[in-house]
């Protein structure tokens, strides 16, 4: 797909288009490749990011992967506006953090607009063969009681990721998996995969996989966060 092709999910604006063509394209029997993959999204809070993501935001259900080079390079800041807006809705469900590597600092989350009563932190310690964190991640995703579930994993077998993706769709939840940059070489069934590098006052996001979108790099600045209440679905 080259850069000139119309971006799916975003209505193509061509002022000089033939009205007959427009009428034809509006026909309900006509399916377009881009529109077929359009899924409901949550706005990410960053205008430049929304523009680059398929459908114009984070998917409402499904697994996405964020691959920062190092922990703490802005990967949480990237998700935070969307998570805060999700917890602030009146019909909000849980926002689950599965085995966070450090202690999430409540005053900072509250400053970002998160409703702490909707945040659930799971401290999983491995018992038995199956890693407890991935098990808890899958349970939370598939439960239907969560809007968003965050997890941090170093190694995740592709079969496990596939289960997570299916669980996220079943539970209508956004699953965010933070993995090290090295995992970019492995295959993944996630809907979105993005690498993250810190920039001064922001970050550069490189889309490694984008189901129904284009692969490109986007520059973000943390100051440019839009905070608006989310529309209910």
């Amino acid at each position: 797909m080259n850069a000139d092709s119309p971006r799916p999910g975003v209505a193509p604006s061509r002022p000089q288009a033939d009205p007959r063509l427009e009428r034809l394209l509006a026909h309900p029997a006509l399916w377009r490749a881009g529109a077929a993959t359009r899924a409901p999204v949550w706005p990410s809070g960053f205008a430049s990011l929304d523009e680059g993501l398929p459908g114009g935001g984070w998917p409402r259900s499904g697994l996405i992967e964020i691959l920062p080079a190092r922990f703490g390079q802005g990967e949480l800041q990237l998700m935070l506006p969307a998570l805060a807006a999700l917890t602030a809705r009146p019909e909000a469900r849980w926002c689950v953090w599965v085995k966070p590597p450090l202690q999430p600092f409540a005053p900072a989350l509250a400053t970002a607009g998160m409703v702490l009563a909707r945040v659930l932190i799971v401290r999983a310690t491995d018992r038995g063969r199956r890693p407890a964190a991935l098990w808890a991640f899958e349970q939370a995703l598939g439960s239907g009681a969560c809007d968003s579930v965050l997890a941090w994993a170093r190694h995740a077998p592709i079969r496990q990721l596939r289960r997570l993706q299916l669980a996220a769709q079943r539970g209508n939840a956004l699953g965010v998996l933070f993995r090290p940059r090295e995992s970019a070489r492995e295959n993944s069934p996630a809907m979105l995969r993005m690498a993250l590098e810190p920039r001064r006052g922001g970050a550069r996001v490189t889309l490694l996989k984008s189901r129904g979108g284009t692969l490109r790099a986007l520059d973000l600045t943390w100051e440019a966060i839009r905070r608006e209440p989310l529309e209910a679905s």
Binding site: P90, A92, A106, A108, L116, R118, L120, S143
Partner: protein
């Protein structure tokens, strides 16, 4: 402990008598609805049990030993009523022939009370109040025929009625000290001076007015045991063996509209002591499917010393359960609330990972970063917290502060190496902006005096450091911006 009660439906309705506006009209209304006219079978016979030891105790609710006595008394008749704090009533007319008449029943009941180590006084009478009063009179009182009731009650002192002391004293001033004397007073005048309730008491005593009593129902616990046809240590097989027991428990609870908060499974072995497996629930639960799921998770983490020969399920005390109606909207949809499966998720995670593994965060109004938040148990019901709490509490003042805060806090500040007085963390650190001084906590012994700096490391991460104000001015890493 509070015993669930139901109104005894077999007692004749007394509404006309109770609602009669004028006491003088009452006997007529009561007579037209007299128990004998309604009940085709024999007139009731009440057995009053009085426990003198409990009389003096002025305590809230029903004493536990009285509940135990009532539960024992259910052996004799299903129609047992409590008369707190010290009485139990049994309707025994139809049970007399089963226990060898009045004397046999009396002996059997005294035997039960002796097992409970209680000395009791018993009395038989055609009305419940007369049976209680007779038992309190502390002399043999046995009236089997309603026609003899008034005569037998006549010598009983008025104090047995437990009227207010003031009424008793006023009656004593009139020279009225026994029930027989008070029954001879003119009805209208008595009602006017002492209140219609006192007259109703007398009518209930003599059987002129009906006296419905709440029926006592013993709180029953569920307990079932199942022998396995083969010894097994497999979790799946144990779960399958427990499933019918849980189904039975679900039916048991549904019939009572109750739920349980705790379950205990015992697994019996050949040599070892039985293995216990406890399940605690977030809210009263009666759904067998959900219990099966939770128990299945718990069994996976159970370590068995030996194969299991038999399993036993013991449910906690049934408690009343709030019934939910299913929503029109799917959870998360417009108008749909975060539903009960939030509780279900928490329960499932707790069962597998332990109770402490699931938590939520709360703000604490404090300037020290390590004291500005605390862990909290997640709200029991997800729906209750669906309205965002107002963010202008005392804790939010810290949140609204302009100074930036990192998203991650280290569990404990980490000491940094220094080079020329500047901190290093995997390379040089570049300090940014002005320091923020946090100096607080002198009152609780965890005094801090620190200058917080924002810093950037060689890989572009933003860190939150502090330098101690006191010598030797050590540097610590306390947060990561993330």
């Amino acid at each position: 402990m509070r015993a669930p009660r139901t109104i005894d439906l077999f007692a004749p309705a007394d509404l006309p008598a109770r609602n009669a506006p004028c006491p003088t009209v009452q006997p007529v209304a009561a007579r037209s609805l007299s128990p004998r006219a309604i009940q085709p079978s024999r007139a009731p016979l009440w057995l009053g049990v009085h426990v003198p030891e409990l009389s003096g105790e002025a305590q809230q609710g029903t004493p536990r030993s009285l509940l135990a006595l009532a539960a024992r008394a259910q052996r004799f008749t299903p129609r047992v009523s409590l008369a707190p704090p010290d009485g139990v009533l049994l309707e025994v007319r139809s049970s007399l022939h089963l226990f060898g008449g009045v004397e046999g029943l009396r002996e059997a009941l005294l035997g039960e009370c002796a097992e409970l180590k209680r000395t009791v006084a018993l009395a038989f009478a055609p009305t419940p109040l007369a049976a209680l009063v007779g038992a309190r009179a502390e002399r043999p009182f046995m009236v089997l025929d309603a026609a003899q009731l008034t005569g037998s009650l006549a010598p009983v002192p008025l104090t047995a009625l437990r009227w207010p002391q003031e009424s008793i004293e006023r009656l004593a001033c009139l020279g009225v000290r026994t029930i027989g004397q008070v029954l001879r007073l003119p009805r209208a005048g008595f009602a006017q001076r002492f209140g219609a309730m006192r007259l109703t008491d007398l009518d209930r005593l003599t059987g002129r007015a009906n006296d419905p009593r709440e029926r006592f129902e013993a709180p029953a616990r569920f307990r079932r045991r199942r022998e396995l046809s083969y010894e097994s240590a497999s979790h799946a097989q144990l779960a399958a063996a427990l499933r019918p027991l849980l189904d039975e428990l679900g039916g048991f609870l549904t019939a009572r509209q109750c739920g349980v908060l705790a379950l205990e499974c015992l697994f019996w072995h050949r040599r070892h002591a039985p293995t216990r497996c406890e399940l605690r629930l977030g809210e009263p639960q009666a759904d067998a499917q959900r219990l099966v799921k939770l128990l299945d998770e718990r069994l996976r983490t159970l370590v068995l010393p030996e194969p299991v020969r038999a399993c036993e399920l013991r449910a906690g005390l049934p408690v009343s359960r709030r019934l939910h109606s299913a929503g029109l909207w799917q959870p998360g949809e417009r108008g749909g609330r975060a539903e009960a499966s939030g509780v279900e998720l928490i329960e499932r995670l707790r069962v597998r990972l332990g109770d402490e593994a699931i938590e939520t965060l709360e703000l604490v109004p404090d300037h020290r970063p390590e004291a500005a938040w605390r862990r909290a148990a997640p709200g029991a019901c997800a729906g209750a917290a669906s309205a965002p709490p107002p963010q202008d509490g005392p804790g939010a003042q810290g949140a609204r502060r302009k100074a930036p805060r990192p998203l991650w806090l280290l569990p404990a500040p980490r000491r940094l190496r220094q080079h020329d007085g500047l901190p290093r963390y995997r390379g040089a650190l570049y300090l940014e902006g002005e320091p923020e001084r946090i100096e607080s906590g002198w009152w609780d012994g965890r005094d801090v005096a620190r200058d917080y700096y924002n810093a950037r490391d060689a890989r572009g991460r933003r860190l939150w450091l502090y330098r101690e104000r006191e010598r030797p001015h050590r540097w610590f890493l306390h947060g990561v911006y993330g």
